[in-house]
């Protein structure tokens, strides 16, 4: 048996000009983050990701 979750979550905001546009700073901030890896065993109640 399998459970498939499909959901909408914020992508995060783009960094402002002051925060820079290059390198690591180009990543969106405040968006969806995964807390698991492929093949990882999880228990009920464990975080799969967070906003």
């Amino acid at each position: 048996s399998t459970v498939v979750l499909v959901f909408e979550a914020p992508k995060g905001r783009r960094p402002s000009f002051d925060e820079g546009w290059l390198g690591e700073k180009t990543k969106r901030k405040g968006g969806w983050n995964w807390a698991v890896e492929k093949g990882q065993k999880v228990k009920m109640g464990q975080a799969l990701g967070w906003v």
Partner: protein, 446 residues
């Protein structure tokens, strides 16, 4: 032989005209028949069905218009294991397996039997709520066991999405162009997984046979009403439906005023408690800001997915991963292939073939769907707040066949699912409210 060949006198006779005409007619008949068969096969594939051989016969048991009369079993392509599996009556096997596991085990064999099962499949018996294994009369009840309170603490982060069950994360990621990537790069359409925006409604919720009834007139009236309304809103609706494959209106999706839906509520067996409803309402932050506030660049959203596989030894009840409102459910009475990681690698679109219950709704960030997919050994999906739902049932299969046949008579295509809404559960939330970590249902053997 030489003498016979050389000395035998050859005498020629004219062939009877009737015999020649008959031969030519037979050849022509064969040619026409073959041409007709090829044409029907092409129509068959155009309708989205895979040609089946055997009992359906050359005529394919279809109406004159070429639409299939019966909900045809899809024969997936793949390696020989998949081909062999596709020939088996998997749902019948699953039901038989369920009946077998409901047989009562002799009292003194229960503990050694369950301990052997636990040893093989890695069940942690210290977490089982019932310490005395004699209490479980059969494997089915042991399989659907509960856990001790507190052994599965919820993640403290209120913005976290929780794992709905014990299992293994097979795949996760973002959805691009409406397609969900499966293991080994196989993809399947979100429309195929969750259903398209044209559902089959249930005119009489109390009658299981009517679950697969055709689309009601109310739905058509509703569509007409929408078309008479604001053109821009309709365009936005349509655009979003194309992206996500689900008929969600923008105001509804972005926590604005919900649209009035014409469909009747299927079941509201357990009305949520006032406290849970208030909690979910607070979490969803309904009405605190207008829907268009979410459309700014700061709040752009995307669709994500995650697939959690439950092994036979895992705890087989599933819980709500977050606070959300279930607005509708769609039951796809498909097949029951195994969903083992091996088959997921070898059989593309496995989740779109199997029987599944798609629960659609919204959480604080927008659209949310929860889809338990059945398998051969665990074909029965139970949803606690939906008493009408019957999965892996001969009745629903027959009803689905009847609905497909009726749709064919009307010249429509069968959507492949039965839909019900939970509007009656909460007049404020227009759905069934679920708190994070709340038990939603589970998978049962057979």
């Amino acid at each position: 032989l030489r003498k016979a060949l050389s000395e035998t006198r050859i005498k020629w006779y004219p062939i009877p005209v009737g015999l020649g005409i008959g031969f030519l007619g037979l050849v022509q008949f064969y040619k026409v028949n073959e041409r007709e068969r090829l044409r029907r096969d092409e129509e068959w594939e155009d309708d989205g069905y895979v040609k089946s051989t055997g009992s359906s016969g050359e005529n394919g048991d279809r109406s004159p218009g070429g639409t299939p009369k019966r909900r045809e079993r899809i024969r997936p392509s793949g390696p020989w294991q998949v081909q062999v599996m596709s020939t088996l009556p998997l749902k019948a096997i699953s039901r038989l397996w369920g009946k077998f596991n409901e047989l009562q085990i002799p009292y003194y064999l229960r503990v050694p039997g369950f301990k052997l099962y636990s040893f093989i499949f890695g069940v942690n018996l210290s977490e089982v709520s019932e310490p005395d294994l004699h209490v479980y009369p059969n494997l089915a009840s042991f399989f659907y066991r509960t856990l001790k309170p507190g052994v599965r603490p919820l993640d403290p982060n209120p913005n976290a999405l929780l794992s709905p069950a014990d299992g293994r994360v097979l795949q996760f990621g973002a959805i691009v162009s409406g397609e969900v990537e499966q293991v080994k790069g196989m993809t399947y359409s979100l429309d195929a997984l969750l259903g398209t925006s044209k559902p089959e409604t249930s005119p009489n919720p109390s009658d299981p046979a009517r679950i697969f009834a055709p689309k009601s007139d109310n739905h058509q009236q509703s569509t007409a009403t929408h078309k008479d309304g604001d053109e821009d809103v309709i365009k936005q609706d349509e655009e979003f439906a194309q992206v996500n494959g689900i008929s969600y209106t923008l105001p509804n999706l972005f926590s604005g005023p919900p649209q009035k839906k014409p469909k009747k509520a299927q079941d509201a067996s357990t009305t949520p408690k006032a406290s849970s409803e208030a909690e979910v309402r607070a979490d969803l932050a309904l009405g605190e800001r207008p829907w268009y506030a979410r459309l700014t660049s700061e709040h752009q959203t995307a669709l994500f997915y995650v697939v959690v596989y439950l092994a036979p030894g895992d705890y087989h009840r599933f819980h709500s991963p977050c606070s959300w409102v279930v607005e509708k459910r769609r039951h796809f009475a498909g097949e029951l292939y195994s969903v083992s990681p091996y088959l997921q690698k070898t059989l593309p679109g496995l989740f779109t073939l199997n029987e599944r219950v798609v629960l659609l709704g919204r959480w604080r960030w927008g659209f949310f769907s929860f889809t338990p997919v059945g398998a051969t050994n665990v074909g029965s999906i139970k949803v606690n707040f939906d008493r009408e739902l019957r999965t892996n049932s001969l009745t629903t299969d027959t009803a689905a066949d009847q609905a497909a046949e009726e749709a064919a008579k009307r010249g429509e295509s069968y959507g492949g699912f039965a839909e019900a809404t939970y509007e009656a559960a909460s007049p404020i939330l227009h759905g069934h409210a679920l708190r994070r970590g709340e038990e939603m249902g589970g998978f049962q053997l057979g």
